[in-house]
């Protein structure tokens, strides 16, 4: 390549890059970015199903093929252009990338994020850049408890619900449990989850004793030999874990041959994602949550929306949808409904403020459950929560769950304006179970 052609080539690519960066928005298209873990240990169990769920629903929305009543085309009639973005690389990197999404790539809305860390870090930046952002999965209650948010919505319950429901399930199904312990990752998610569970157990089962050998291995440790030994030797009958990503599967693989699942009752609050991925290797008798009514726990829910979701997902990706697929799909659906409602009210394509106004406090029927944006001034959703017990279904050669119990949203989430830790500590006043 001569110097001149090289310079020419550089010139052309720079021009192309600048052209791609220029705003190209009319009312016939809405561009959204969907961040999820596309690389690293969280990609397989979380990022990929999340991306698939969003992709499938966006395609259906653009084609007008969602089941009624959501069978209108696009977001308020506008085609949705989607870009998938990698969530890995640390919170600070996500903040930098979020700025790029808004300022460089000019997206109209961002829908996604799996890690609590990403969401907590992004909250102030979202407010600064004033762009509609819908958090899909991340669980930390801090997002709305740390400050008032204008532009952020979260379309699923936060982590408190998972652990309050877990304690309820233990109380209902295994009232004889006398002592409990836990193994959680030593970072914010694991620490918060254990704290909420422990506080809920103190309220709901005050006679059960807590072990003094609760395990906190490092996140992404991969090897849990010594922790499994410690748990086996512990007298506690029940083990609580909020493990997720590759750690969860590693823990199950290492604990199964050592008989931990036969010896103890184990409750996995995010275990739902592992059921389909592990198949027959998932031990029977494990208490499973999916951070709400998603994935394997709603396999048998026979609503038109849920049946459509499971069938379309299975046909396209060859597996059943797990929690993150539902949760991302739910966030996309919520945004569509907000756009459509705002358009109907405004009598034309809505402005962002109109979309936000109709998003606030919305209640809608999602694929697997009813979602109410009831907390934080109508920005934080509440849904029911659910637990079940794994049982391999030999007839269909599929993983299954038994003893599925649902808990209403008002039973497992604090009322509006109440800090979740305070609420549990005070004995969950106002809970309607």
């Amino acid at each position: 390549m001569t110097n001149r052609t090289m310079i020419g080539a550089i010139g052309v690519s720079v021009a192309a890059a600048l052209a791609a960066a220029a705003p190209a928005l009319a009312k016939d298209a809405v561009s959204i970015a969907v961040p999820a873990f596309l690389s690293g240990p969280a990609a397989g169990p979380f990022g990929v199903p999340a991306r698939n769920g969003a992709e499938m629903v966006i395609d259906a929305i653009n084609a007008g093929k969602l089941p009624a009543p959501y069978d209108s085309k696009g977001f308020a009639g506008a085609t949705v252009n989607v870009e998938f973005v990698d969530e890995s690389g640390g919170n600070t990197k996500q903040v930098a990338e979020y700025r790029n999404l808004i300022q460089k790539r000019n997206v109209d809305a961002v829908i996604g994020y799996i890690s609590s860390g990403s969401c907590a870090a992004l909250a102030p930046v979202v407010e600064e850049l004033k762009t509609l952002t819908v958090f899909a999965v991340c669980g930390t209650p801090r997002v709305f408890e740390d400050g008032e948010r204008q532009y952020i919505f979260r379309t699923m319950s936060h982590a408190t619900a998972d652990n309050v429901a877990a304690a309820h399930y233990i109380k209902d199904m295994f009232p004889a449990v006398k002592s409990y312990t836990g193994i959680n990752q030593n970072y914010a998610w694991g620490q918060d989850s254990w704290r909420d569970f422990e506080l809920s157990m103190k309220v709901l089962m005050p006679d059960a004793a807590q072990s003094d050998k609760v395990q906190f291995p490092k996140i992404f440790a991969g090897q849990y030999g010594s922790e499994i030994s410690a748990l086996s030797l512990d007298a506690a009958e029940l083990v609580h874990s909020s493990f997720w990503d590759g750690d969860l599967e590693g823990f199950i693989f290492q604990a199964t041959p050592r008989g931990l699942f036969k010896q103890k009752k184990v409750i996995l609050t995010v275990g739902g994602t592992a059921a389909y991925r592990l198949g027959k290797k998932m031990p029977d008798g494990v208490i499973l949550g999916a951070r709400g009514p998603y994935g394997i726990l709603v396999r048998d829910r026979k609503t038109a929306l849920n049946e459509w979701f499971i069938k379309t997902y299975f046909d396209r990706y060859g597996t059943y949808p797990s929690g993150p697929a539902y949760q991302y799909a739910q966030a996309v659906l919520a945004t569509k409904i907000a756009y459509d409602k705002a358009a109907a009210a405004a009598g034309g394509f809505p402005t962002q403020d109109q979309v936000i106004a109709s998003f606030k406090g919305m209640e809608f029927e999602s694929f697997s459950t009813t979602v109410k944006l009831a907390l934080a001034g109508g920005h934080q959703a509440i849904t029911e929560n659910v637990y079940g017990i794994t049982k391999w279904n030999a007839d269909d050669a599929e993983p299954g769950v038994t003893d599925v119990k649902f808990y209403p949203a008002e039973c497992v989430m604090p009322p509006d304006g109440v800090n979740s830790v305070d609420w549990i500590t005070k004995g969950m006043p106002g809970a309607k179970c």
Binding site: A17, A21, G89, A96, R99, Q103, K104, A121, K218
Partner: protein, 321 residues
């Protein structure tokens, strides 16, 4: 000597003023942001460049980067101090102090031992941060709004422009001062130590002390860069500020830039930031591959870094690493 150093100073001044003017009047916000982040990192890379000229590479300067960033962030969170005239000097001083203390140990080692010892120290800080909930654990925390002389702003565009001009001014000052330093007798000891420590000792200088001084200087600059990075991004967490990957990034940018000039880190760092942004945008599934591949190409074909291309274009011989 005097003439060339004046030429470089003049060049740096013209360059930074041009970037500042372009930034304020022409460039879009996203590019301003990229320059802000790139120049924050470049401050740290200038520190590594001083070490590299001495023949030393540190795989652990994220220690000082993170110290600077967390100093700024903690001053804001625990004491409500957002004043940049307090936080940035504090970040620089904290890093310099730790650098001074650790310097007594690391100055006795060279080559891979120097690199790995630094790595070990940085991972100690990483471990402490990850395990301490009061310091934000793995999630980190948000940085307070910065103020200058007590004046703050809620307007995102005004804040960005002010930070951008700030990083240009500090970048210019750092580049000029480090350039002057490298031209001085003490500064000339960098390459002398690299080439032959025994001769340096015979000349009456202590190689260990010379290395110690440069180590403290690089620690201070890296701390300043980390502090600026925390303010520009508005968030700190161990993964993005203190992990070994951050040290790797700093070394990456140092190699990409080349040791030829104090201006090189600023150019190299901006190229790195743009490269990463476009790789991230175009191949979201394998952006790391593009970034890593580029480093390999640079090492194979441009051992003198980006600066060697520029100086060749200008008809001058680049300084060999």
């Amino acid at each position: 000597m005097a003439l060339t150093s004046d030429r470089t100073t003049l060049g740096l001044t013209v360059g930074f003023v041009a970037v500042a003017l372009l930034g304020v009047f022409v460039l879009p916000d996203w590019l301003l942001n990229q320059i802000l982040v790139a120049f924050s990192r470049a401050l740290a890379v200038v520190g590594l460049l001083v070490l590299w000229r001495t023949g030393l590479v540190s795989f652990g300067h994220a220690l000082y980067f993170g110290l600077g960033a967390y100093t700024v962030a903690l001053l804001g969170r625990n004491y409500g101090i957002g004043e940049v005239l307090v936080t940035l000097p504090a970040a620089t001083l904290a890093s310099a102090l730790v650098g001074f203390l650790l310097g007594f140990i690391v100055r006795r080692y060279r080559e891979i031992f120097f690199a790995m010892l630094n790595l070990a120290f940085s991972m100690v800080l990483f471990g402490i941060l990850v395990k301490t909930e009061a310091l934000g654990s793995t999630d980190g925390f948000n940085v307070e709004q910065p103020t200058l002389l007590g004046i703050g702003t809620d307007d995102a565009a005004v804040k960005l422009t002010a930070l951008f001009l700030g990083v240009c001014a500090i970048g210019w000052l750092t580049a000029v001062l480090v350039h002057r330093y490298l031209g001085s007798i003490l500064g000339s000891l960098t390459t002398a130590v690299r080439d032959n420590e025994i001769r340096v000792e015979y000349l009456g200088y202590s190689a260990a002390e010379a290395i110690h001084g440069k180590y403290v200087m690089s620690a201070a600059l890296t701390g300043l860069g980390g502090g600026f990075m925390a303010i520009s991004l508005g968030q700190v967490d161990p993964e993005s500020m203190v992990n070994w990957t951050v040290s790797g990034e700093l070394v990456f940018v140092t190699i990409l830039s080349g040791p030829g000039s104090v201006a090189a880190p600023f150019i190299g760092s901006l190229i790195f930031e743009l490269l990463r942004t476009y790789a991230f945008e175009l191949v979201p599934y394998a952006w790391q591959l593009i970034v890593g591949g580029t480093l390999l190409l640079i090492i194979f074909f441009l051992p003198g870094g980006v600066w060697s291309v520029l100086s060749r274009l200008a008809g001058r011989r680049g300084v060999e690493p």
